[in-house]
């Protein structure tokens, strides 16, 4: 650490004003990223609380801790909050918002005011949904399956549906902003195949956000309309078809999984090459596999309906297409592994999360193939095997990438360092806690324990207690980063512009960057991830 790097820069975006107005009316993509960071962290805490309630209830087999109704509301709250208000916006709205203009050498996103609008829409949607959850609750599961949600449920379906409908437009506007920004705002010399893979991943994500989200918006609106104005689309008494709802719902909600995982894959690509000190292996394959996942992701939705009532031939087609998605996912995993090969691997916290991601995503992905197989799926549908599988993708994949990315770019966002030892300890806690929570659930599901019941046969208790113990460890694993990262904002050592010696335009600016990111728009002359030549302005000793 050289002496001139002991302090933060004189001018930076955080100093542009401390009053509430300077935050609530900001159009700076970096500040909006932080607004999102605070909001989704809050929602994550609520979602985790619901998860805690669920795991607490499942400590005992007889369901004596809470009523079945309360349990239904707890797991629904967990799902709705985590999916719509944490996982979907997580990486794109925080890291994506913060980094995309910096990575492509732009002063801001193409539509800064729409960017701020998207945050307000998110807050309104979240507030309405939370209102629905607190006053009366919601017991439909996050999937809102009809006809239960339209004809039978007596919980706050309309309000929650409207909240989710509104929040959807926040996601659409973020995607729209990214697509236009990536197309039109790149710095001179930054051709498509010089873009960081993080940007490619967000481009693919944005396509799904723009083309998928409106479908769930209209679908969830139809559920609300059916309850309020008695539309008959999903009412079997009038010839309506509840399964049509499932098709429309999963047309978005399956691609939504890729909204969660693709940005995370983008983060992994950035970190793995930096901490291997080696150019990423198979750049164009990783870039194109993001687009392939986005495209194929739209063609597999009906694998959620194998036992709902569908012709055998459609089921076979959807099964085959689902297997096909494994190909681009495997391409990425192989390329990351090949990047490690003969690299000079450094075990800093972001890199530990990369290893967590690769291992857990591998398990999540491969168990997905079990579920895509028609025969096996009949046995496993609606069991804890499915719960474990999608948590390995959504938590083991998406959240590992999110935490890894947060640690990796934290010095850029705040200009300060977190305490590395704490980072390592908590990443270990997260890894152990996560596996202890969800691996037993694979076994439970295989043994036949169904999901969404508040009581279960006694022989499943040991595995359930293990799972709850794991969830407790996982909870601490989340609390630690919250504490030491918050602490570092105020007390952390100044990090310098490029503490990791990383490549990419975002590391050529000061930390934290100025409001306009670059004093002069940079001209890009080199290929991405050129780790063979020394980094520009490396601050690391």
């Amino acid at each position: 650490m050289t002496s001139e790097r002991q302090t933060l820069p004189e001018e930076h975006y955080l100093k542009a004003g401390w009053d509430l107005k300077s935050w609530l009316l900001t159009t700076d993509h970096k500040r909006i990223g932080l607004l999102y960071l605070v909001s989704i962290t809050f929602m994550f805490a609520i979602g985790s609380l619901y998860a805690g309630i669920v795991r607490f209830n499942l400590l005992v087999p007889d369901g004596s801790q809470m009523s079945a109704e309360a349990y239904n509301k707890a797991f629904t709250g967990h799902g709705v909050v985590m999916v719509f208000f944490f996982l979907i916006p997580s990486i794109p709205a925080t890291l994506g918002n913060f980094l995309i203009p910096l990575m492509i050498g732009a002063k801001d996103l193409a539509f800064p005011r729409i960017n701020l609008l998207s945050w307000y829409i998110y807050v309104v949607g979240a507030a309405l949904t939370m209102w629905a959850l607190v006053t009366g609750g919601l017991d439909t599961g996050w999937t809102f399956y009809t006809p239960y949600s339209t004809a039978l449920s007596e919980s706050n379906v309309e309000l929650a549906a409207i909240g989710i409908f509104i929040a959807g437009f926040s996601s659409i506007l973020t995607g729209l902003n990214f697509i236009v920004t990536i197309h039109k705002m790149r710095a001179p010399g930054l051709s498509w195949f010089r873009l960081p893979l993080f940007v490619w991943a967000h481009y693919a994500t944005s396509i799904i956000q723009v083309l998928g989200t409106p479908v769930i918006a209209i679908t969830i609106l139809l559920v609300a309309l059916e309850r309020i104005f008695h539309f008959g689309f999903f009412d079997p008494n009038r010839g309506g078809d509840p399964i049509l709802f499932q098709h429309l719902f999963w047309f978005y909600s399956h691609p939504a999984v890729y909204i969660m995982i693709l940005p995370s894959m983008g983060v992994i690509s950035e970190i793995v090459t930096c901490f291997s000190r080696k150019r990423i292996f198979g750049y164009s394959f990783i870039a194109m596999s993001s687009l392939a996942i986005a495209a194929l992701g739209f063609l597999v939705w009906a694998h959620h309906l194998f036992v709902s009532g569908m012709s055998v031939y459609s089921a076979m087609v959807f099964s085959a297409l689902s297997f096909l998605v494994a190909v681009p996912s495997a391409i990425k995993t192989f390329n990351w592994t090949a990047t490690l090969y003969r690299g000079s691997v450094k075990w800093d916290t972001p890199m530990i999360y990369v290893f967590c991601f690769i291992g857990l995503f591998l398990i999540g992905g491969l168990t997905g193939l079990f579920l895509a197989s028609l025969g096996v799926d009949v046995h496993l549908t609606d069991t804890y095997f499915v719960v474990a599988h999608f948590h390995y993708i959504m938590v083991g994949g998406a959240i590992m990438g999110y935490l890894g990315g947060l640690h990796f770019w934290w010095p850029k966002i705040t200009g300060r360092k977190y305490v590395e030892a704490w980072g390592k300890v908590s990443s270990l806690l997260v890894f152990v806690g996560f596996n202890l929570t969800f691996f037993p659930q694979f076994v439970l599901g295989y043994l036949g324990m169904p999901r969404r019941y508040h009581a279960y046969p006694e022989e499943f208790q040991i595995l359930n207690v293990l799972s709850t113990a794991g969830a407790t460890i996982l909870g601490f694993g989340y609390l630690f980063p919250f504490s030491y990262l918050t602490h570092s904002v105020f007390r952390g050592e100044p990090a310098g512009d490029n503490p990791w010696g990383a490549k990419g335009l975002e590391w050529t600016t000061q930390s934290p960057p100025t409001t306009h990111n670059f004093d002069l728009i940079p001209v890009v002359t080199e290929e991405p991830y050129d780790y063979a030549s020394p980094p520009k302005e490396a601050a690391r000793v």
């Binding site: 236009v180 039109k184 705002m185 309309l225 104005f229 306009h516």
Partner: protein, 236 residues
Amino acid sequence: MSELAAHGGAEHHPALQHHFTSLEQQRAASSLGMWVFIAQEVLFFGGLFATYTVYRTQYPDAFSAGSHHLSWKIGFFNTLVLIGSSLTMAMGVYSAATGKKNRVVGFILATILLGSVFLGVKYFEYGDKIRPCFGDGSHAGCLVPGERFDASALHLAGPAAGHAQIFFSLYFGMTGLHALHMIIGIPILLLIAYWSWRGRYSPEYHTPVELVGLYWHFVDIVWIFLFPLLYLIGSH
């Protein structure tokens, strides 16, 4: 003009935002943004069109009877009105591109007028179907889905009466969503007309006029699909 100086150069157009390097870049970005927005709109309406396709395939007779009950003459009149409004909108954009300020204002006001005529007609069309549902009487002729729905005017009974409710759910859902888009569009057009009158646009910079034009044409095109699907399928 002090704003200009702050941006450091007389060559900067007042409409140029700080994060763009040129008006051309700004225009291209805005235009792409609107096209992406329209793509999302297509998928938004797409959910309803998919629902329509499924149920029309399943219940062709009830759909035919429901469609027959709608007045194709009123629908046709409204189609002409909307196509007319698209024409005036296109003329408005052309006038903006050629810098004829007064004509821009005139054409946009004409577009608003035609859009309002369309919505007025829609108001009476809806009224005929909704009015019988209120009051204590027999609710004869009530075409709002729900308990008071009366299929006797459609000469349907049994399950087919339920299927007709699905048709009318689609009718209200699709035309309602379409009308909502026009109701959102009209205040935006008013604003653009006002700014145009204030002289904000020029041949170099009239992107907002172009964008609202794109939006308006999209809403019209949705109607071009709705009209035959809802009004004409009973006529053959």
